[in-house]
């Protein structure tokens, strides 16, 4: 329930509020928009998802951000940017089914939606040819 941001084998650069993260193991680069960067930064292993949502609402003057936080953590988990994911989040999302999906869609449409886009960084030869660069947009927001 208290997610931890992965730090090993990552290179992180902050770019005017967004973060770009390079995973040296998987040769993937991720772009985290400012909301996603905020969520990842708060995955400190001490803050659970409910607390994170409350902090987020206080900081940004929003309300009911739990779904937004869950959506962000789900994306971070899919991108392998968490050490351990809060399993009950995944279970809760699966259990709540269509209703949760609708809420996620609302979250995705908001200006504060967490967005994570990933690419597979090409080999030198692939960059030259423009061949299979493994682009896989994982943005869900």
């Amino acid at each position: 329930m208290k997610p931890i941001a992965r730090k090993d084998e990552l290179i992180v650069e902050e770019v005017l509020g967004e973060w770009v993260v390079y995973d040296k193991n998987q040769k993937r680069a991720h772009n985290l928009n400012s909301t996603m960067a905020w969520i990842w930064h708060h995955c400190d292993g001490r803050t659970d998802v409910d607390e994170m949502a409350m902090q987020f609402d206080q900081e940004f003057g929003s309300s009911g951000s739990l779904d937004l936080i869950r959506s962000g953590i789900d994306q971070l988990e899919a991108a392998d940017l968490l050490v351990s994911a809060p399993r009950d989040v995944a279970h809760a999302m699966a259990a709540s089914g269509p209703e949760m999906s609708r809420r996620s869609i609302v979250t995705a449409g908001s200006a504060l939606a967490p967005i994570l886009v990933s690419i597979l960084v090409p080999t030198a030869a692939a960059a030259k040819s423009g061949g299979d660069d493994g682009k896989d947009n994982k943005g869900k927001g």
């Binding site: 650069e13 005017l16 967004e18 390079y22 690419i119 030198a124 040819s129």
Partner: protein, 282 residues
Amino acid sequence: MSPYLTDPKTESIVPVVQGGKLTSGTNTVSFSCCGVRIAVEFDSRISTSNIRSVLPPEFREFQGEETDHHFSLVGAGGTPHGEQMYRIRKGSTIAASPVSLGQAMVVLHKTVRHCVAEYTRDRAFVHAGVVAWKGRGIICPGPSFAGKSTLIRSMLNSGATYYSDEYAVFDGNGHAHPFPVPICLRETDGRGQTIDADRIGAQPLSPSLILFAQYRKDGSWQPGTLTPGQTLLRLLENSVSMRRNPHTVLKVLKEVTVAAKAYAGERGEADAIKDWLEGLAF
């Protein structure tokens, strides 16, 4: 052992290669470029000036055998049509077997430049065309056959200063350095345009604009803006050495991203972008 053997395919005499190195009958040029040390060993029937003419910009020759990469270019007999064949190796691996000296020079030129682009520790190479237009640096990233050269040519026809139509070479400050294709190769290489020396950039260029313009026959240039993070990710997609040197490349391309505005979209004719640039307030 004789330094020459008979090639079983062509029955012609070729130099012996041991461990990727020719044993004799060759000359060698050793040079460094962007911190990468390369030796090019070549058949002594090929002139050294020919080899030098296709080496990358800012190459510095040195004496000595301590190099990081070894290339060789040797004659490899004749074709049934009487053409002289050549063989280019990188280390002990055959990289190409061109069928004329002109073609061999083009292949050697490309292979050596790509080696520099991949292994440099000092700079970040991105597949991109670069021009200075009205004092502004314009970077057009994209892989081969994405239409970079056409776009660059269109801007050159409007008076832009040429920096590169293959690699954008950024230093630690995010400035682009000239990396032109040698004039002697432009016709052979299919680029087909000679550029006056005074139209080639001489000074490092601060990028103002990054255009991710993908050519499509019926495309219409109505670009969207990219955030800095999106821009950096797309530059990484076109980076040559990110996997080998991620710390440097990420920092350098961040500098580029912060300095420039970025747009992405599909384009049709290259002149449409030129018109768009005319109306753009930098």
